[in-house]
């Protein structure tokens, strides 16, 4: 069923493919974040700190906890990457992700976060982020982003990559390549003393130089014992983000770059963010730890020299 919302005018060609499989349970012996059992999926620990701009400086034990969880999150993403090919549905990828989390004693962070129904986000083509895995088979030529966050031993680790499905057009390849470069250039600038609001200047400059735009509605965020917390890291230029990087800060950078305009809207499911003009969007994300001299990419790939998966297909 591809028309759950009669009257809704889609911005592009993508449609939801319902019904979704029921919410997958997580074994009781795996540690759960506070929102997992809240009826509306609200996180009281996050709400408590809502609006504060104080950025936590992690102690060595916490940093070790983050190293471990980010490595596990990377393993799960690599498993998802192996499945990406035409004909596979995003729900099948989500199922594999769910099992991979459980096998590693992790809770899949997106599950029930503000009632999100699945264990990861899968965003295809004009979907900017927060796509919900469903029955749609991937098509040759699609670009797919899989966003993984896992919760282990009290910490969250978050990363995402955009993959090619089969043979992808040159324009889309350029979009994905540029988006990756935006992320890596921003990461290159991370070190103590740099203002968080500077990252948006770097990202937008590179995106614009290649004729692309930067999504403004969603931003990077602090992450450790909370899924999303201070600092707020907008990806567009001239933002008012509060804070200066210090050793011990942990946060994500996750630029979403678009072929057309940056304006987004949300499907009636309350989650799926799409470009208003229906043109495609790509994203990449890492969780970073600020160190004395620069930063450590906690979610880096450990094989293939750390190359993103799409580079194998260029």
């Amino acid at each position: 069923m591809s028309h759950p919302w009669p009257g809704y005018r889609y911005t592009g060609k993508l449609r939801p493919h319902y019904p979704l499989t029921p919410m997958r349970p997580v074994p009781g012996d795996i540690q759960r974040p506070d929102y997992a059992d809240h009826p509306r999926g609200m996180s009281e620990s996050e709400q408590f700190l809502k609006g504060t701009s104080q950025i936590k400086i992690l102690c060595p034990e916490d940093i070790e906890g983050m190293r471990v969880v980010c490595k596990l999150a990377r393993e799960v993403l690599d498993i998802a990457a192996m499945m990406v090919k035409p004909g596979v549905t995003t729900e099948e990828i989500d199922h594999a992700v769910h099992l991979a989390c459980v096998a590693r004693n992790c809770y899949p962070s997106p599950l029930n976060y503000y009632n999100f129904p699945k264990s990861c986000c899968t965003s295809i083509n004009e979907v900017i982020c927060h796509g919900i895995p469903d029955r749609r088979p991937l098509q040759d030529g699609d670009i797919l982003n899989v966003d993984i966050t896992v919760y282990h031993n009290g910490f969250h680790g978050d990363l995402n990559e955009t993959f090619f499905v089969g043979e992808v057009e040159e324009g889309a390849k350029k979009l994905v390549q540029t988006t990756y470069e935006c992320l890596m250039q921003a990461i290159d600038s991370v070190k103590p003393g740099v203002r968080y609001r500077e990252l948006g200047n770097i990202i937008q400059k590179h995106a614009q130089a290649n004729g692309f735009s930067v999504v403004r509605s969603y931003c990077g965020h602090g992450i450790h014992r909370l899924f999303h917390t201070a600092p707020n890291v907008p990806h567009y230029a001239k933002n008012k983000a509060v804070g200066v990087m210090k050793p011990g800060h942990v946060f994500t950078i996750e630029p979403m770059i678009c072929e057309g305009g940056w304006q987004d809207e949300t499907w009636p499911d309350g989650w799926t963010a799409v470009t208003r003009d229906g043109k495609w969007s790509a994203q990449f994300e890492h969780t970073l730890l600020v160190t004395e001299m620069g930063c450590e990419i906690l979610t880096r790939r450990l094989e293939e020299n750390g190359r993103a998966h799409f580079l194998n297909q260029m």
Binding site: Q47, G51, S53, Y114, R216, C219, H228, K238, G261, G270
Partner: protein
Amino acid sequence: MDLQRHSKNTPKMFNICFYIMEDEDDCPELVPISAQPGPPAQQIPVTIITGYLGAGKTTLLNFILTEQHNKRIAVILNEFGEGSALEKSLAVSQAGELYEEWLELRNGCLCCSVKDNGLKAIENLMEKKGKFDYILLETTGLADPGAVASMFWVDAELGSDVYLDGIVTVIDAKYGLQQLNEDKANGLVNEAARQIALADLTIINKTDLVNKEELNQVRDTVRSINGLVKIVETQRARVDLSEVLDLHSFDSMDGAKLAEKLELAKPMRPHLDKSILTVTFEVAGELSEDALNAFIQDLLWEKKFCNKDGEPMTVIRLKGVVSFVGKAHQVMVQGVHELYEFNETPQLWEENLHVNRLVFIGRNLDKDVLQDHFVSTVVLKAETP
């Protein structure tokens, strides 16, 4: 036509006939045909109205609604509470009619989304139902209007349909002084004083209940807290609407007016120890933009500056007009708590002396410490008047 004070749990709050908009529960959303938004042609001003319970906020809101009957005005009571509601009601007044709308506060991922839920809900509503001419947001007595203001003080780059026009504080002439003098334990800020500190306009209401001397005391206390705020005295919140609406307190439109206002800001002797007060200074010369950024960040974010007693300065509101080396236009500085920005105004310096004026409103402020640091680190090219 009247708004009634209501409890948060009661959805229906008006005692007049109202026209309920269609039930949105099962109805799918219609996306307008013209889905291509350019830069907003006309942005809608948001005015935040704050003050203690009983000061006269509701009276003021009702007055604005009745006086501006040819405009479409949205009124939101009790700001957005603690984020657990999925819907929030909003009253719209148009052509003498008052009716209710619903804001859908989609929880979704309010975490990594840049725009506040409440702001998005308002924008969505306007997209579906048409734009308002004004939006008035009333906060509860204990809320920090700075936090509410920052919801609407969005980066220009976000292309929002709304802009923050100003913060209006209503204070009771009879009980206001008592509220301002209330000593808070543990160094907590006095909310009444904070509401004045953040105000662009203060309405001293119920002046008919006090004598001249009492009124002078209230006015002096307000002035000592906030050297910049416009003060209007009223009975029954009857005020000239041109004083309340279109304040443009956060944008560079009235760069010239701002410079004038700053010249007139009179710092007074603080009314109480540990109270909020206003500090201003002016220095002639041209500044380094980088150095001013560092100075403000040290002040607002790192809280590095201390007064002579070693207590860290806390700035609640910051306003100024400065001159950067290489920039012909006057630049406006605005700050609320930790958020701040620079905005180029249409005003040119031309042949005038480059007088940089900064006004700080907050606690434990020490003018000498601030000015010395400013002169030694931020001023690149000093000028002598």
